[in-house]
Symmetry: C2
Subunit: 437 residues, 2 copies
């Protein structure tokens, strides 16, 4: 039954793919890996683009292993597992389909493809009786996909609360600890290589929606697409919000949240206030943490570096080992992404939560009464109010309030009514309060 060796075809030679290649060319690492699998693992071909050939690593690799030609890559004999670490939706989606159709197991670190096309790829894997691994697509080297697919399988997952984007968590940590504003913190993140020149995907929460789509699909056994997820980034947060949050006993985090009740799920990515004494509030810098609550297991948290060549390649290589065992034992696709029927995604307007509201108003009597009236007619009760002294320069007053739980729809109506009040200069920000333990 056992094959003498198992061949790997690697696609890409960027940060993650490059480190994966380094591991697959490292004798000690490959020996441990081969021992673990029970047969020899061998890197047999690397699909690159012309620009990759200029990388220092490309010069270290036997030129016969490198190809820029897709046909050449897929026609290489004895590739049992295709490892894709190119990133982005296309061409990787096409490559992965082709790999599955040709009967290869696949391993990918590509969150966008899995988030958008995971179910389709899984069906294709089923049809071809091969497996599909994507541990590296979420949370770098932190074990997340496999725990959902295996370790928590007996659980009904009630909720996921995840700090799942290192760039934004780094920015928010700096804003909290140093009192700087968003733009200064972003600049620092860019200098350190934690944020890209065009940071939109991270700071607008898009990257987090990909990851939440993957985790929620697994956790809730249904199909959650990135477009199903309510998404709001961190660009509106100011240093004032952090000061008030701290005064009120909260930390500010960008959370990816998934919750399940009997017939529906909610999925959303946005900044939240969370109590400053919960563990997620202590997750600082580029670290990620995923808190999961299951009916049996209770609360579990997975914490670690969510990105970077080394951590991500750790997950890619673990997946290669699993895929190799599947080759060896002729194991099929598994049921990891099989969606169940009958669950719908609740619209954001139905969310019920508490809110933090910061407003700049005219400095005159009766302002608070007008605000209270707008909230009251929308059935929103005020829990506490902080009224700061008038700003000497602008002559405006700042009012910060916290509400009791209210419906998002009512809050949105109230917000537009508040904005129309003649005494309102601007609604500085509003942030949802997440009730986690």
């Amino acid at each position: 039954m056992k094959k003498a060796s198992i061949g790997i075809g690697l696609m890409g030679l960027g940060v993650v793919a490059g480190q994966t290649a380094r591991i697959l060319l490292d004798r000690d690492k490959v020996r441990i890996l081969s021992d673990y699998v029970g047969t020899q693992i061998e890197l047999r071909k690397v699909k690159v683009i012309a620009a990759d050939l200029e990388r220092p690593l490309a010069k270290e690799i036997d030129p016969r292993l490198l190809t820029t030609d897709e046909e050449d890559f897929f026609n290489t004999k004895d590739i049992d597992i295709v490892v894709e670490a190119i990133g982005g939706e296309n061409p990787p989606f096409g490559y992965l389909k082709r790999a599955l159709r040709s009967g290869r197991r696949i391993v990918t670190s590509n969150k966008e493809v899995i988030a958008k096309h995971g179910i389709e790829l899984w069906s294709l894997a089923q049809e071809n009786n091969v497996s599909l691994y994507y541990e590296a697509s979420v949370g770098g080297g932190i074990p997340l996909i496999m725990p959902f697919q295996r370790d928590l399988i007996a659980n009904r997952i009630n909720s996921i609360h995840a700090i799942i984007n290192g760039t934004t968590n780094y920015i928010l940590t700096r804003m909290a600890k140093e009192g700087v504003d968003f733009s200064a913190a972003l600049k620092k993140a860019q200098e350190l290589g934690y944020a890209e020149a065009n940071p939109r995907n991270d700071v607008e929460g898009i990257d987090a929606t990909y990851k939440l789509a993957i985790l929620a699909s697994l956790a809730f056994h249904c199909q959650v697409r990135p477009d199903d997820i309510y998404c709001e980034g961190i660009t509106k947060l100011t240093s004032r919000d952090f000061r008030y949050a701290s005064e009120l006993g909260f930390a500010v985090k960008l959370l990816a949240i998934g919750k399940q009740d009997d017939h529906s799920i909610q999925v959303r990515v946005h900044p939240v206030f969370i109590p400053e004494d919960v563990l997620l509030a202590e997750v600082d810098g580029v670290f990620n943490a995923v808190q999961v609550e299951g009916d049996l297991v209770g609360k579990v948290i997975f914490y670690g570096q969510g990105a970077g060549a080394y951590p991500t390649s750790s997950a890619v290589v673990a997946d290669i080992a699993s895929a190799a065992k599947d080759v060896l034992y002729a194991t099929g696709a598994g049921s990891g992404l099989k969606p169940e029927a009958g669950k719908h995604i609740r619209p954001m307007s139905e969310l019920v939560t508490s809110y933090y509201l910061r407003m700049e108003t005219a400095d005159q009597p009766g302002v608070l009464a007008q605000i209270s009236q707008v909230l009251g007619t929308n059935l929103i009760s005020i829990k506490s109010v902080i009224q700061k002294e008038t700003n000497a320069e602008t002559g405006h007053a700042e009012i910060v309030l916290m509400t009791y739980p209210a419906q998002e729809k009512a809050m949105q109506t109230a917000l537009s009514e508040l904005k129309r009040l003649p005494v309102m200069v601007q609604v500085g920000n509003f942030v949802r309060v997440e009730d986690i333990k």
Copy 2:
């Protein structure tokens, strides 16, 4: 290839076994599980002792499923997987060997058997080409065994720092937060059912050595037995130690520590001072957390409830699912516990770390000079000293000091010399400082 159904034989009907039985008799849970595996899972026999038959649960189970007879249990047809959740070394060790010899896959929550006989069981599993799962043996429902066996497989693990015993962490948390002494905190833990009437196994650190033996064997690919582990419990800690720790910026935890360098490993369980701003310092109450550092993945932390019927059964059932897939695909034993040669366990005397020392002395001039001299001749440098006012009642002075890193052997020599000083009333406590981030 596919079997129409897979039969489970359960051994035990206590806390964990009982909850496992409940899940295996719950239609919804079994349907999800069977869907996941790809074939029907069925509980076919439960081995109990006479006393178990008095449990309320026993009355709910079809009497034909229950047996008190070992022969009857092992002769039951169509048991593919034996699940042992009796606990304790014997008779479970014998049962597990018998199950493996009869070609059954095994799942166990038994930390003592795995810690003491894991390698032997794994060899027997190899011989019989069947698999062996024990996720529930460490950390309740927190995924730990599988992450070490799969997700971190590409890593060289440098260190493990684990809060792995809920009873002691509960006691230490109460001592830290409420200033009570050990005995009062233990009493409270017993009232709440977090500590047993005879708490020795927990408070002396023995339970933690079982779990560390299992984790270290996996992490370092070598055989670590409970007896190889230096072990010191928490009974000597007093409320004063917590007060001083807090003054000095430390938290006090019972840690299970494993570290690896090129040729040797160190394994130890004892109370430590850790910086109060690291995440492990925030792990309170009965929760467990395991911090692992790997060369690729960096620092990862796994956090959750380390005990209890529900969390532990979550892990047992996940293992049943994996074992069932192995039955379906005729997968063998894997290489999880294969020990590598050439690693030795360093004696505790070679440890180098900083120390906290609390001493009660005569209140007279020159005491500190005498203490400094003893430490100095043993090449131990003092980092800081706190000298408290004389106790009016006893007329004794209290001196607390922190050292720079020194060798354990030197420290032990210094301690016995200090105890012999005429001015020394008693060495109240000494605690090692663990340098973690």
